[in-house]
């Protein structure tokens, strides 16, 4: 049996060696994919963090609040504030038109009298509190009867702007406005109490700090490459479904599969032969992509992939991911009757599996139902196992459940393929 398996492996390698197009798909395309996607994602990240985004500010307030908003936006390093177009101050109408046409991504409209009304509102509130505390005689009575309307800072977004960008900008502005309000409240208290010489601590009492995981007492800050390379490597590994399913469909259409069925050789030998060959291909793909990420990326302006201490476990995850992909390829090749069925279905299903698995959008950001579906995707098990190893620094024991699931997927898909084939051959 070992000899038959060996001869099957030799045959599979010869078939692959003679198929130049297949080799390009197997080795060159994944490299092109991982380089292209990482470059694009890295440059997008740089564009957002290094290139300032121009935003329109319509200042109807002309007071301290709008000045603070302007100063804070300028200081944020993210935005360049535009207050005039063609030498004229921007009106709300002009801002809306420019943003909705996509010329600018965002416009902020500060309402009239925001500074004075905010101050008046705070004065009212502070006076009420101070009065209740029994200090009313010492302080001049405010105009308590005046009703101050709530103010609204309007934001206009380019409809093409992504939701994630919108929500992050909105939360920054919300934070900025809250800080201005808090500062105003402190200052008013200070004035009302006549404590000009007493300085309130106006800095936030509660701050936050990201605690970065340490490996060998060294902080390891994940970069875009640490996220991208495992994800796209996995994507490429799963693309083995296409050549493998085509290989099986070809065996059926050429008649070699029929000949093998009449030979004293079990299906197991044929499947082991294919599994060993295509697993080797997966591992070569994996090491090529890791090598490119380590050695080539720094030369094209990308951070290098840091695999220090992780390469063995990453290899284990890559191998089991390959098994899952091979199982799927065997099933697809067995069910499909033609290459026209197997190739497009294989490609589309890998893209769907990648989307479900969290290659593009993290699973935690998906709707609940999609999160549940993601948990049943082999691509998700593999991706999480890669992240566990590379970013969460876990041990072999901790990845056993995920790689076991990947292996189980291989066993189940292969058994379904064998069962389907047996059923089909009963007359």
């Amino acid at each position: 049996m070992i000899y038959k398996i060996w001869m099957s492996i030799v045959k599979e390698f010869l078939l692959l060696k003679r198929d130049l197009g297949g080799l390009v798909i197997l080795f060159i395309m994944p490299l092109v994919l991982v380089i292209t996607v990482t470059l694009i994602q890295d440059s997008t990240f740089k564009a957002v963090s290094e290139n300032k985004i121009q935003i329109l500010l319509v200042d109807n307030d002309k007071g301290s609040v709008s000045k603070t908003v302007f100063d804070n936006l300028e200081k944020s390093q993210l935005f360049t504030v535009v207050t005039q177009i063609d030498g004229k101050p921007i009106t709300e109408e002009v801002a809306r038109e420019n943003v909705y046409k996509g010329k600018f991504q965002l416009a902020i409209v500060i309402p009239k009298n925001l500074s004075t009304d905010l101050q008046a509102k705070i004065d009212q509130n502070v006076e009420n509190i101070v009065s209740k505390m029994g200090f009313s005689d010492t302080i001049a009575k405010p105009e308590t009867s005046k009703i101050i309307q709530q103010k609204e800072v309007k934001l206009y977004f380019d409809p093409a702007v992504q939701l994630s960008f919108k929500s992050s900008v909105m939360s920054s502005i919300d934070k900025m406005i809250s800080q201005i309000e808090t500062k105003s409240i402190y200052t008013t208290f200070q004035n009302q109490l006549g404590e000009e010489n007493t300085k309130f601590e106006q800095k936030s009492f509660i701050t936050f700090k990201e605690i970065i995981p340490k490996v060998n007492n060294k902080e390891v800050l994940p970069n875009s490459v640490q996220h991208n390379v495992p994800a796209w490597t996995l994507f490429a590994i799963f693309f083995i479904v296409i050549p493998l399913s085509i290989n099986i469909v070809k065996e059926k259409s050429q008649g070699t599969f029929v000949r093998l069925l009449t030979n004293p050789v079990s299906n197991l030998v044929v499947i082991i032969g294919k599994t060993v060959t295509y697993s080797a291909i997966c591992m070569i793909q994996f090491y090529m992509m890791v090598a490119v990420a380590i050695f080539l990326f720094p030369h094209i302006g990308l951070p290098s992939l840091n695999v220090e201490g992780h390469l063995f476990l990453m290899s284990v995850v890559a191998l089991f991911s390959g098994f899952a992909a091979i199982g799927f390829g065997i099933l697809l090749g067995t069910i499909a009757s033609t290459q026209e069925q197997s190739a497009p279905f294989g490609a589309t299903s890998v893209i769907i599996l990648a989307a479900i698995g969290g290659v593009w959008v993290p699973v935690f950001a998906m709707p609940k139902i999609m999160q549940l579906i993601a948990k049943s995707s082999p691509m998700n098990w593999a991706l999480e196992a890669f992240y566990d190893v590379l970013l969460r620094n876990v041990s072999f024991l901790e990845i056993i459940p995920k790689i076991s699931l990947l292996f189980l997927f291989f066993i189940i898909t292969t058994c379904i393929a064998l069962f389907y084939d047996k059923k089909k051959r009963t007359v």
Binding site: K11, G255, N263
Partner: protein
């Protein structure tokens, strides 16, 4: 739907048994069952006293199969194909290499041994297709239209080689549409139509027992009629 119905056959060791019939008669289905490719929904058969239910592997070791299509890897050379299929019968080392060389030589293909199958003509492919089924010296050889679509020279080479195999003890079961070829080649013939055996006997016996028949074609037409058998 039944492809075969009430088929009963005895094929003796050393025979060249021809299964003849129009398109859709059930020849390929019968051969596929005998080769273990498809499982019959009812009925049974034995080969050398063995059945597939309990002795699949043993049967597969003693039979050889030459399918109708060129069941070869087009991008591999003739030698690579034959080494692979030979190894699946358990042949290895010098035994396998020598057998491949010997058979390629016998069928006039040795000088093309290291050329890819995709570069071969139809006749050359048919000959390699045959070799892939006989490398292990099978006791019983199944051939499904082994000479279809080949030139006269290749056809003669194939038939001559099959006769040689038969002289060395291989029982041959073969299907064909070439009635003249079958008449000359087969020791026993069964005429199959609509899944049933219509007649069985030696070619000369069948001709003699059919009124006004001068050859096997007359017997065939007499039993299966002149209607076209196109079916989709």
């Amino acid at each position: 739907m039944y492809s075969l119905n009430d088929v009963s056959l005895d094929i003796n060791q050393g025979e060249i048994f021809g299964l003849l019939g129009p398109n859709g008669a059930g020849k390929t289905t019968l051969i596929s069952m005998l080769c273990g490719l498809i499982k019959p929904s009812s009925g049974h058969f034995t080969i050398d006293g063995l059945n597939y239910a309990g002795h699949s592997s043993k049967i597969k070791k003693i039979i050889g199969v030459v399918p109708q299509e060129y069941a070869l890897y087009p991008t591999l050379t003739a030698r690579e194909n034959l080494h692979y299929f030979g190894s699946m019968y358990g042949l290895k080392g010098s035994e396998l290499k020598d057998k491949v060389i010997e058979t390629l030589d016998l069928l006039g293909l040795l000088k093309f041994a290291d050329k890819r199958i995709e570069t071969f003509s139809g006749g050359m492919k048919r000959r390699v297709n045959l070799i892939a089924g006989i490398l292990h010296n099978p006791k019983v050889l199944f051939l499904d239209e082994p000479t279809v679509g080949v030139d006269v020279q290749s056809k003669n080479a194939i038939i001559d080689y099959l006769k040689l195999l038969n002289q060395n003890g291989t029982t041959i079961i073969y299907t064909s549409h070439h009635l003249a070829e079958a008449e000359d080649f087969c020791t026993t013939i069964a005429i199959l139509d609509q899944g049933k055996i219509y007649a069985q006997g030696t070619p000369s016996g069948l001709i003699a027992s059919t009124e006004k028949a001068r050859n096997l074609e007359d017997v065939f037409i007499s039993l299966t009629g002149k209607d076209l058998r196109d079916d989709i």
